[in-house]
Amino acid sequence: MSDGSSTRVDRRSLEDDAFRVVSARDSLATRLRNLWNRRELLFSLIRSDIRIKYKNSALGIVWSMLTPSLFLAIYWLVFAKFLKNGIPNFVVYLFAGMVVWNMFNTSLSTATGVIVVRSGLVKKVSFPREILALANVGAATFYFFIQLCVFGLYLLVVQHSPDYAYFWLLPIAFAALYFFTAALAILMSAITVYMRDMEHFILIILQLWFFMSPIVYSYEHSIAPQLHAHGLAWLYFLNPITLIMLTFQRTFYVATYAASTTQTQIVNHHVVPVILKILPSWPMSTYCYLDLALLGIMIVFFLLAEVLFGHLQGNFESEL
């Protein structure tokens, strides 16, 4: 065929194209760049994730609102009515915490096993493997925003207006939540390849985590007094979710409650102390500094998770 090749024409000169390098270890910068270059795949996977989840179900995407709403109703019934946890306007408080929690919970419970589940793909197609876990986080982010919309609608219906002055803190808190969730998701997905127990273990951890976060109870009201007595308040804040939830609760729950004293005749003139007990009485600047610091830490954590993932993925093919 040697004579044939001379008649062929160079369709496009590749001389100017840079070489891509495949080698044993890629640097963090290379890995992040690869991740960025394949963002279209990430979005495709997120889209297909969402579509597949509700394919062939009559209610479709409504389920992503219905399930959390039902949980909300159950928690409200159990904690506010049966156990009488004493948090006024509990549904708004609960909703603010649950929105954050659902994002974290959904991401981790789906992303943990994702590389094992999709090993067929991992062994056949080339792409940054952490995209699979990130796609699950992305889908959870999508549900997060849907639930946020439902939350907004609910607030309109019950005429509970959030503290708009705190709104600008939400993107910071959300970014911290995203990076924390994404970092844990890609780490867990890689660890599960080596230890399959993680898929089951994570469910127990998440159950515990739920109660370690101020969702169905108030940190300031139930936990803080005991911890403060021993000077251990910082312990509770080792859970990054706490601060994120507090920011969401501070924004959506607290301020308006103080303003609408007329609604609560039972507590009447005790309204302000009650609120201070439910959420920390920090000024806005404290929230701001804490959230920014948390965001910084979470970005570092995410990069660390990326590096660890890079080390762990080298042996995937002998384990899958």
């Binding site: 062929r8 891509r20 390098v21 495709s44 793909l121 062994k123 399959r196 993925q313």
Partner: protein
């Protein structure tokens, strides 16, 4: 000519677990037990592929050719060494590996395109071509889980070849689909070649390599044993295969028979088209053996012109020197050089006992008016 793939000293070591401890309990109870063995799938492989080149990667099962291909595609990370790749690459490693059975064919085309690394816009641009090529227009909005295996593969192949890659990597996927679709695939690969793209083609089917590739690389046990023009490499591949088969042959039969040479009475391998020819095949045998004898004639492009055997009358080899004669009463071939392969196979034709690839090359001269491969002597007249 631009280098598009440069493989530099690639090695790949796999950890083979003999006892797998994958659960937490087992890991805690047996932190160090469970033997692992290192397996070298690739040893220091280096080569490069230019634009306009179609390179075949041949080797028998377990030779490391798929591992090498996966390293090039980025599915596996090499243990050491580097691979440089320029231009976009579409890999047909396992067709439809990225398909989501729950999604429709349409959604899967976009998803698969994204997995191959192509943008949504680009896939939109070629969507009609993909559907046309795959011939499943009526089912494009059906969930892929209802597809037949043939439809599945056709759709995946259609995506991969229509996304306009600079490098196409094909791993034994041409074995799928019906004959017509296979012909279409080969046709598409030829178009790719004419457009000056690079193709890396993995198979253990020597005939396919001969038909498609300009160059072939032979792998054996993770080592590269040949890299050169297709017929050269295939000769080495066949002979190497014989050698390694002989090592595993307990009766010692394979090692005992060898084809030494082909001669003609005149000593010349030039022949005029239409004339006859006689070959003497000299065979050394260390024992008596009765088997079949095969002769193949190929064009230089790798097209099989003819394969014939002893037609039921066995060739009886005596210990020592033997001579087998081949009479070709008339060679109707047109101008060109043709390669002759000869071999001794067992009577049922299952096992090759001795083989000589490209044992001789005959040069045919033809001065008639017909074109093509053979002279049929057609007479055209009006009735």
């Amino acid at each position: 000519m631009t280098t598009v793939i440069k493989v530099e000293g690639i090695s790949k070591t796999f950890k083979i677990h003999h006892e797998r401890h994958q659960s937490l309990k087992e890991r805690l109870l047996h932190p160090r037990t469970g033997s692992t063995e290192m397996f070298n799938a690739l040893n220091d492989i280096s080569f490069s592929v230019d634009t306009n080149e179609t390179v075949g990667l041949v080797g028998h099962n377990g030779s490391g050719k798929s591992t090498l291909l996966k390293c090039i595609c980025g599915v596996l990370q090499p243990t050491s060494g580097q691979i440089h790749i320029r231009g976009s690459l579409a890999a047909l490693l396992e067709l439809g590996a990225g398909f989501q059975p729950e999604l429709s064919g349409r959604d899967n085309v976009f998803l698969y395109g994204a997995m191959l690394g192509f943008s949504k816009k680009m896939v939109e641009g070629i969507f009609d071509d993909v559907v046309g090529f795959s011939e499943i227009e009526n089912f494009i909005d059906t969930q892929v889980k209802f597809y037949s295996s043939g439809m599945y593969v056709r759709l995946a192949f259609a995506v991969a070849v229509n996304v306009d890659p600079d490098i196409l990597v094909v791993d034994e996927v041409l074995a799928v689909g019906d004959e017509r679709f296979q012909a279409k695939c080969i046709d598409r690969i030829r178009t790719f070649q004419d457009e000056g793209r690079s193709i890396l083609f993995v198979t253990h089917n020597a005939d396919q390599v001969r038909a498609i590739c300009d160059r072939a690389i032979v792998l054996d046990g993770g080592h590269m044993i040949a890299d050169g023009p297709t017929h050269e490499s295939l000769r080495i591949f066949r002979e190497h295969l014989m050698d390694s088969a002989a090592e595993h042959d307990r009766s010692g039969l394979l090692a005992s028979i060898s084809i030494d040479s082909i001669t003609t009475p005149s000593g010349s391998f030039d022949v005029r088209s239409g004339a006859g020819m006689h070959f003497d095949v000299n065979i050394t045998s260390h024992g008596a053996y009765s088997g079949n004898f095969v002769m193949e004639i190929f064009t230089r492009n790798g097209l099989l012109v003819s394969r014939s055997d002893a037609k039921g009358s066995p060739v009886n080899l005596k210990p020592g020197q033997n001579c087998v004669g081949i009479d070709l009463a008339q060679i109707p071939l047109l101008d060109g050089i043709y390669d002759v392969n000869v071999g001794v196979v067992d009577p049922r034709g299952n096992t090759v006992i001795a083989w000589r690839e490209q044992a001789a090359s005959i040069q045919v001269t033809y001065d008639g008016r017909e074109g093509g491969l053979v002279e049929l002597g057609a007479a055209i007249h009006q009735q």
